[in-house]
Symmetry: C2
């Protein structure tokens, strides 16, 4: 399959067949994951692959009981990891200084690049994946379940398995002109915003979603239901506190 | 080409042929970039494609004059962008609350996922890419050159072009066991660290690097030369200040 076709046909897969992923295949995919670019070749990430049923059940509530966590054969928690590199430095009489936001930010980038490589590799082998953004909400609880030490922070979770069905349509995206700026950033005029968001707002499923939720428009679905200001602020504070507890600040 | 082979043969390309990238090809690659997973399908990122020679020359010092910035036909600055989504909400009477760390973190993840999709798409079409981690160092200066508004923060830069030569060897990676944890995180013993880092330390180019820099070992190359504690702390403070100035906190 052409690689652009693979990228362009990506869908999040939330229902998995009752079929395991072999250790060999998982190793092959993790190996490809690690070929992603990373900061200074320090590889400031770790990947936790959870298959155990009881552990997945313990994780599930901290991902708001999304069924993929218990139903997928493998749950991968991608972590920003400064700990391993620091331990190496400690054993080499090298005075490191990675307990700061900049280093954590590199580690976040490294973890996400590795995660996306994993997902593309997995999809190329017929697997389906779903990213769980919930990882940065109840991060402290996930840290406890997965026995994650200081200077390591889970940043995203990917569930992976063979798709039960993949009949779902592609999700929509903004037109390229909506995200691409030529030469410098060109801030959006009111007319730009109207044009860029019109196709998304016109989709029957989105119009139906607005109707059944009794909202005025699609934007309110995001601000009043899915990503409310008070939740965002609460989870911000929690995440910053967890970063402090993990020794990042 | 098999997709795993493509991922496994990734190299950062730092020398580019004098050959432009067509607008059509760039649009095709950005389109594939946007198919990446993202938070709640909000697509909280923007991509700035800079081709103009003078602009690239203005950017170059803020990437520590790495030659890829001026020599690559296209410099892509991937930004965490809450601004576009907020403007849409404003035009829809939707009370948003995205000026916080959690939302910025989602936007960072979205931008990096899109960046990695772009890179894989580009490599599948014979282009070469290089990530510039410098984006999070002199972020404020990059913001000024690229005219980036509040609630938008550049998070990584990718230079892209046709490779001048690609004879460089693959860079090394830790063995899979070095980054993969089964079921839960298993913290590294001293013996683990020795085993995991041994192949990297044994590489002739790394041993030579240690020798010419007059250091005891490879870890000190990182801590004493490449990523010094005082620099990391300085750039952390700068990045946090820039986030404040951009209205994130």
């Amino acid at each position: 399959m052409d690689i652009l076709n693979l990228l362009n046909s990506h869908k999040s897969i939330r229902a998995y067949a009752d079929k395991d992923i072999s250790e060999d295949l998982l190793d092959e995919l993790i190996n490809a994951s690690c070929r992603a670019s990373n900061t200074g070749n320090m590889q400031l990430y770790s990947i936790i692959a959870t298959r155990d049923k009881q552990l997945k059940e313990k994780l599930a509530p901290y991902h708001f009981n999304q069924k993929m966590v218990t139903e997928a054969p493998v749950v991968l928690t991608f972590c920003a990891d400064l700990n391993r590199f620091e331990k190496w430095c400690d054993q080499r009489n090298a005075q490191h200084g990675y307990d700061n936001f900049q280093s954590f930010y590199w580690a976040t980038i490294d973890a996400i690049l590795a995660a996306q490589n994993f997902c593309i590799a997995a999809e190329s082998r017929g697997l389906g994946i779903c990213f769980l953004g919930t990882t940065t909400y109840l991060t402290k609880e996930i840290i406890e379940v997965l026995n994650i030490p200081k200077h390591v922070v889970p940043v995203t979770t990917v569930t992976v398995g063979y798709p039960k069905d993949d009949n779902a349509p592609l999700s929509d995206r903004l037109p390229v002109e909506g995200v691409l700026h030529k030469e410098t950033y060109h801030d959006y005029t009111a007319a730009d915003i109207e044009r860029i968001y019109a196709p998304k707002e016109a989709l029957p499923e989105n119009q139906n979603f607005v109707k059944i939720n009794n909202k005025e428009n699609l934007a309110q679905i995001f601000t009043d239901i899915r990503y409310k200001k008070e939740d965002n602020e609460l989870f911000s504070e929690r995440l910053l506190n967890t970063l402090k507890e993990q020794g990042i600040f």
